[in-house]
Symmetry: C2
Subunit: 231 residues, 2 copies
């Protein structure tokens, strides 16, 4: 559950960027939402790592409304977790910086991508831009108005503009851009949602993940710091 995740959802970085990831648990053992992959062998005994939500589910006298709200939170958490996993993968594989993005349509993942700046020698190969390009290619169309994007971090102005151009209908992000800036990323990346561009008012629902979703996403930067090149 989003608001009170098991400790196994908190990602521990691998010892080095070249380490292999631990094998995934069998489906039968997977809690819901599925935990992020671990590489350090630590188990549920890391109780001190459990993050608790600052934004509990809204209280309601109607059990059905509570159930729906929880289902929506779980759904968002499930897809955001994949984006966070991609962020770690970007660094572990040496492909780029710790950012991930997932495009979802009809509750199914269309593409799951990460930053490819170093691998592709392409400063525009941010996770979100890459995901939009790949999703359009896969779906054979230049607009994604029936899609949602889950991004491990608040998109930079380039990526946020690309989200607008692609007409994605909903954007859920984890970490605030400031968390990336804090470890050395260009402060400009925080300009998109903080800026005044009127394209903010487009037909786009923007949601910052709450509770563990946001925490897990922000931990990416601390956990990968020093493992990738910024320049």
């Amino acid at each position: 559950m989003w608001t009170d995740a098991p400790a196994s959802m908190l990602h521990q970085p691998s010892a080095s960027a070249s380490d292999d990831r631990a094998p995934a648990p069998t489906p039968a053992a997977l809690p819901f939402p599925p935990p992020l992959p671990r590489t350090d062998g630590a188990g549920p005994t890391d109780a001190h790592l459990v993050a608790r939500s600052a934004d509990p589910l809204p209280s309601s006298s109607h059990p059905l409304a509570m159930e729906e709200a929880k289902a929506a939170q779980d759904r968002d958490h499930k897809f955001l977790s994949i984006a966070v996993e991609e962020a770690y993968r970007a660094v572990d594989c040496g492909h780029g910086r710790p950012f991930g993005a997932v495009v979802v349509r009809n509750d199914e993942v269309v593409v799951s991508c990460h930053n490819m700046v170093l691998k592709n020698t392409d400063p525009t190969a941010h996770a979100e831009l890459t995901a939009i390009r790949e999703a359009c290619k896969k779906l054979g169309k230049i607009e994604l108005s029936d899609c949602e994007m889950y991004a491990s971090c608040e998109p930079c102005p380039m990526c946020f503009s690309a989200v607008h151009l692609s007409r994605i209908k909903r954007l859920v992000y984890g970490a605030k851009a400031e968390a990336a800036v804090a470890i050395g990323f260009d402060a400009f990346i925080a300009d998109a949602l903080g800026g005044t561009g009127h394209y903010r008012t487009a037909n786009l629902e923007i949601k910052r993940a709450d509770g563990n979703g946001a925490l897990l996403a922000e931990q990416v930067f601390e956990n990968t710091k020093g493992k990738f090149r910024l320049k």
Copy 2:
């Protein structure tokens, strides 16, 4: 000369998007800066089409300073003309919308690109973004701090952000974004330079072409209107 171009520099659109371009003139016949390619067979007799600069060269008592200013104008015009030519090519080839961009290093064209949104089924394949990607690939590096970009039109927020990310040192553009908005493009494209993003203050010289350069670039939209899909 930038400020008083021959009529042959004013592009006339072809009768249809599928028309072939006229063969290029032999190098010996090229005026400096070279004229844009024509497809309608009209020649220098179109004197009424000659655009005159609203911004003549700065007066100076020193002939050498005048000469240098003129050379700089001619240089900018030469490269911007290539970007404008690419803008026409995007529509003529059916690849995308009428935008072109050129990356220049040490007075030489690194890449010359146009909008590939339709051809690549990629809403991010704007001319500037494509040019940055191709230039980085060609030069084998993710930063272009020794390069300039010439764009047929003021870059949209996505492309302007990409210019910033690539560390291009100088940007020269032709048409104002409003000229594109006037024929139906999303008004958001005018947000980059009109906005308040602090990345405007990066180490980047931004120049809007004056005189014929700006006029030729703005004519692109009127001349290609109706020949490409906006949706």
